[in-house]
Homo-oligomer: 348 residues x 2
Amino acid sequence: MSIKPILFENGELLLLDQRVLPVEETWLRYTDYRKVAEAIRNMVVRGAPAIGVTAAFGAALGAREIAAPNFDAFFTEFEQVCALLAATRPTAVNLFWALERMKVCAQSHRALPLAELKERLLAEALEIAEDDELINRAMGGHGAALIPDGGRVLTHCNAGALATAGYGTALGVIRAAVEAGKKVAVLADETRPWLQGARLTAWELQRDNIPVTLICDNMAGYLMSQGEIDCVIVGADRIAANGDTANKIGTYTVAVLAKEHGLPFYVAAPTSTIDLSLTSGKLIPIEERDRREVTHSGERQLAPDGVAVRNPAFDVTPARLITAIITEHGVARGDFLTQLRQLCNQGG
Amino acid sequence: MSIKPILFENGELLLLDQRVLPVEETWLRYTDYRKVAEAIRNMVVRGAPAIGVTAAFGAALGAREIAAPNFDAFFTEFEQVCALLAATRPTAVNLFWALERMKVCAQSHRALPLAELKERLLAEALEIAEDDELINRAMGGHGAALIPDGGRVLTHCNAGALATAGYGTALGVIRAAVEAGKKVAVLADETRPWLQGARLTAWELQRDNIPVTLICDNMAGYLMSQGEIDCVIVGADRIAANGDTANKIGTYTVAVLAKEHGLPFYVAAPTSTIDLSLTSGKLIPIEERDRREVTHSGERQLAPDGVAVRNPAFDVTPARLITAIITEHGVARGDFLTQLRQLCNQGG
């Protein structure tokens, strides 16, 4: 069974520290929502769905702290808790989606005594986490048919169990194909600078006995040119209404390469990743992270002192390069504008 | 003045150890050609022209050791010296070109007393090194016009002074553009797994006060999509008669991206990198290097134990993706088959 990187036990949030995998498996414990915000910012946890789930637990922990005389006073403080959690990372929309769901939950239960409301908010966070894994399994069910038997599938970054509450989005589709009896070999882009592919994707697939071969990001084009890749599947951090997809930096390059080689390029993401408020991917904010992620590997210096660095953490793949978007409600192809809206409404 | 990474002083070959740059500037000294072969294999020195120059000095050092009664006996042993030096790295043709030139030199001076012949071989190696820098400056003269004033130029790997006897091929063209008064900003792909861009290109450009910004390999596509790159220039390890170009892994991907964005893609290489014996790039042997280059950064483990790895060190960019090939004798465009042959003949 695939790993679950986010647990809630005995009133504490437990996060598997993704900064030190695969060499160490360390669980960190949180009761303070401010520390949860830091954990999101510092990438103890990462991956759009996992960030959403973690933020929901953070909001529930924050709610627990609030000493207010009535709902309105409570809600004002709760909004501040949510704002702090929201200010951690700008690109993945699941973060805002999950916090919005928590605020709606609070409003819907405004009549409850505050102690019970706080319990309800924790129950909501637990439900978001449970839903997430169910959603991923549904996505796997819809997507498995797209993975060819004997297929050699390239993935970028980690859209696996570690990026979610469990099972994974892109890797969930691969897991579902394997569970359906298909033979699948995964090629994992190492995914500089943070090496989610080398450290996380390789680790979780190896753990589940799914064959995985690690490559540097700049090798995928060569392997495609040699006929050694059959399709590409990635996750998403935010999908605009027209299908333009923000995902880990380098995804766009893989999509251009897939087009050049006539290979299908699939995105797997829950409908909570779809942001219908944005008409195009150009409107998705792209986080730039610290230069040290590029210039150092742990303590080892890789570049000369003081060199200028760019470190965008995401890029946007235009819809025209995407063969299909796999969600928990079905697969969108072609007319994303209409189909994504329909898929989102099925959730309602 | 740009650095010269290969020197010959007091009967010793000196190599700037490129494995430890930019953190350490260490010069290693060689008198034994077997150690020179190891230095090429272990990438103390790398870059097609630099490998050729180093091998020539290795051959001269090897010749010095040979105790033979006559030319034929000498030459038999000299061929073994050259074979050992040739067996270090398969892709860069300059290695074989330089060793061939040394053998031709020996044959041309077979009438000399052996002590004098050995001196002549050392003189030939010195000439190859001096020629290399002159060739790079000539290449710069031809190529500088292609670099736009105010241009933001992407380069991959290190085709700089450190990849040659001095001045560089692709970076030589950039240096020549700067010397001609143009404002040029370089974007350097870090170039996984060996990080020639981060460790070498950034270092040597910074040293020469040419603005350089370091990016991960998977960021170039994003920056192109944002209109932040104006052209691409790279070096080459071997160019087939039809213009197909083997260069550092990832070059092909950059070329596909350049095409997608309508950007010029230039290759700068001496005619000694052109292998007219190969009709197409498909025939160029591609070296696969040790998995540890991908799984570790120094002593730091980046991937789970035992994960499968691919590590091709080069890829082939088809001629159709190349705007122009800049050599010391001029610039080839379009009909590479005819033009490369003409440029090579001008050297004769």
